[in-house]
């Protein structure tokens, strides 16, 4: 059995304690190990993605226990795509944290960072709902530490809100798992996919409650309106590299929705009929609208970026809520784009902060490094608002195209196009206030100019923007890949049979019960 698929979980899990215990007082060693770890994660994830690219579903049985009884990790196109995205994002975030010295402003940044990666990787790879819960908790508890990294009262208060909201989400998750277990007697996703389809039409109360609760839990993670209230404060107050890494955390929610609602509760399942079209789609349209209106209304740059994250998650959820192969493919393309663009914007907001007393959207004297920062803001804002020529535009076209068929087409087109206009106005207002009007404000007498941000910070942001450009230039291959990914999601038989029919300990040649 190939052991590589568990490496993205094991490697950060081993690196983190090493960094805490052995390299506690040596920042250079911490940084070297952290970077080396993330580089090897990229290599491993790329290898796994390459392996899954021909449609192979890789199964890993921990301790060789067979599927419904043991814990399994499953690597298909979607999982490996997401872990590759995570590790690439992690590299640039780490470079920025090192370049801007954010990692020295508190203790244990690198260790928490590795634990966070471990949780995210595990959540993407696991084939078991209870393990999904456990990995959610791993990534959350690391994110609590990262969120309040560097301290400060506002950050601690935002941290309290963030932790409380997520604790409620975890409790709901457990209620959903209990209901699913009581009804089906299993928590393995592939096994559930088979058993949920077999439940009598008159006996679906528990499973329907569970399906709605699970959707709520994942919607909290994905910050879908009206469950988005935790996001603006916590993302705006979190340290910039942490907020940039959190750009993937909302996508964990989107991933979980895609996985669970294509595999376990597929759109054609009668018991959960209408869940996505009646509930998820309006909520997604609403979060798209509210996010982009928030971009226009924000008075501080970090809040503006946080609301643009809500808006872009709304866009992703609109595409997901269609639950058609084309819709999911568009959503996956947009997830990659939105992760990179949101991360770049959070880092740029921190670059802007470097020379200003605050991030209020009012004109202040221009600072050193402003021309490059403003150019980068311009690019990232174009990407996030979805203007041509960057990948946001292509992603939006794909979503509009996928939504053209259904009966919600009018709503989808109206909200997507209207909110795009609002976000363009919001971003251009912010950009012109921050960078253009700064020219006309004279410098104060007694202020000495702040040093420009380090070159490595610019390299990190530039790297993210380069990836966005690459995502645009290679949109054809990228789209055909996500199209295959989506096709694999809508034909789950190979996934289910790989998970359930691979022999291991305790498996019998003939099934006696169930």
């Amino acid at each position: 059995m190939m052991h590589w698929i568990i490496a993205p979980v094991i490697l950060p899990a081993l690196l983190a304690p090493f960094i805490v215990l052995a390299a506690r007082y040596h920042f250079v060693i911490q940084r070297v190990f952290s970077i080396a770890g993330v580089l090897s994660l990229i290599a491993i994830s790329a290898g796994l993605a390459w392996q899954a690219s021909d449609g192979t579903v890789t199964l890993y049985q921990l301790s060789d226990w067979a599927a419904p009884f043991g814990i399994v990790l499953v690597g298909d196109r979607l999982s490996t795509l997401m872990i590759l995205l995570t590790s690439v994002l992690a590299l640039f975030v780490l470079l920025y944290a090192i370049g801007s010295n954010w990692d020295k402003r508190g203790w244990h940044f690198h260790a928490l960072f590795q634990f966070q990666l471990m949780g995210i990787m595990g959540a993407f790879l696991t084939g078991d709902l209870f393990n999904l819960f456990v990995f959610f908790e791993v990534l959350l508890i690391a994110s609590y530490g990262l969120m309040i990294h560097g301290g400060g009262n506002l950050r601690l208060r935002a941290g309290v809100q963030y932790v409380l909201f997520n604790l409620i989400g975890s409790t709901l998750f457990l209620f959903a798992l209990g209901a699913i277990y009581a009804q089906t007697g299993t928590l393995n996703m592939a096994d559930l996919a088979q058993r949920v389809a077999l439940i009598d039409a008159g006996d679906t109360v528990g499973i329907r409650v569970a399906a709605v609760l699970l959707l709520m839990v994942f919607a909290i993670k994905a910050a879908v309106v009206p469950l988005h209230f935790w996001l603006p404060s916590s993302y705006a107050e979190a340290p910039a590299p942490v907020a940039a890494l959190f750009a993937i955390m909302t996508k964990v929610g989107a991933y979980a929705i895609i996985r669970v609602y294509t595999l376990i509760f597929p759109p054609e399942l009668a018991a959960t009929d209408g869940l996505h079209s009646v509930w998820l789609m309006p909520a997604a349209l609403l979060s798209l609208a509210i996010g982009m209106i928030g971009v226009l209304a924000a008075k501080k740059l970090d809040r503006l970026v946080a609301f643009s994250v809500i808006g872009s998650m709304g866009m992703v959820m609109v595409a997901i809520a269609m639950f058609t192969p084309a819709g999911i493919a568009a959503a996956l393309y947009y997830i990659v784009h939105s992760t990179l663009a949101a991360a770049a914007l959070f880092l740029i907001a921190d670059l802007v902060r470097a020379g200003r007393p605050s991030l209020e959207l009012i004109a202040m004297p221009s600072v050193s490094g402003a021309p490059l920062t403003s150019a980068m803001f311009f690019l990232a804002a174009i990407a996030m608002a979805g203007l041509p020529p960057l990948s946001g535009f292509i992603g939006k076209l794909l979503i509009l195209d996928a939504g053209f068929e259904g009966n919600m087409a009018v709503w989808i087109w109206a909200v997507v196009l209207g909110s795009s206009l609002i976000s363009v106005v919001g971003f251009s207002r912010a950009g012109s206030t921050l960078f253009w009007k700064a020219k006309s404000i004279p410098h104060g007498e007694d202020t000495s100019p702040e040093p420009a941000p380090a070159a490595l910070s610019y390299v990190a942001v530039g790297g993210l923007l380069t990836l966005l450009v690459a995502h645009t230039v290679f949109a054809g291959p990228a789209y055909s890949y996500v199209e295959q990914t989506s096709a694999q999601l809508f034909a789950p038989e190979p996934y289910v049979s790989t998970v359930l029919d691979t022999p291991g300990k305790l498996s019998k040649p003939t099934k006696e019960e169930h």
Binding site: I141, G159, V163, L164, Y181
Partner: protein
């Protein structure tokens, strides 16, 4: 029958009290509420394997047995919720000591944006 009623109403009362406390405005009651909710969910998970009295939690020759899996799930859930509560107490204490205020909502100047100086 009596056992089912007892467990079900315990879960219900714990959840209701927890929900009420979670909707309070200060950190301490909210944390208490979350603790009650986690107790409720632990009992709920425990009951998800059906309530059986006096049966072994393993497959034996006996026809009656208790489902052992929910007990393992509950153990995991207890450890996680315990750790999470400890974390939120620490962060809440830090926020309270730093700001002399234990409200969970944003400070007023933060949300209204009047702080323009």
């Amino acid at each position: 029958m009596g056992l089912e009623l007892l467990v079900a109403s315990a879960i219900g009362i714990l959840t209701a009290a927890g929900m009420y406390l979670v909707l309070r405005l200060r950190t301490f009651p909210v944390i208490m509420g979350i603790s009650l909710l986690t107790y409720a969910v632990n009992v709920f998970l425990f009951a998800s394997g059906r309530l059986t009295v006096g049966a072994p939690p393993i497959l034996t020759e006996a026809t009656r047995y208790t489902d052992p899996l929910p007990q393992a799930l509950v153990l995991t859930a207890i450890v996680i919720s315990f750790g999470m509560t400890a974390v939120v107490v620490m962060i809440g204490l830090g926020a309270y000591l730093g700001g002399d205020d234990d409200r969970v909502n944003d400070p007023a100047a933060e949300t209204s944006g009047e702080e323009t100086s």
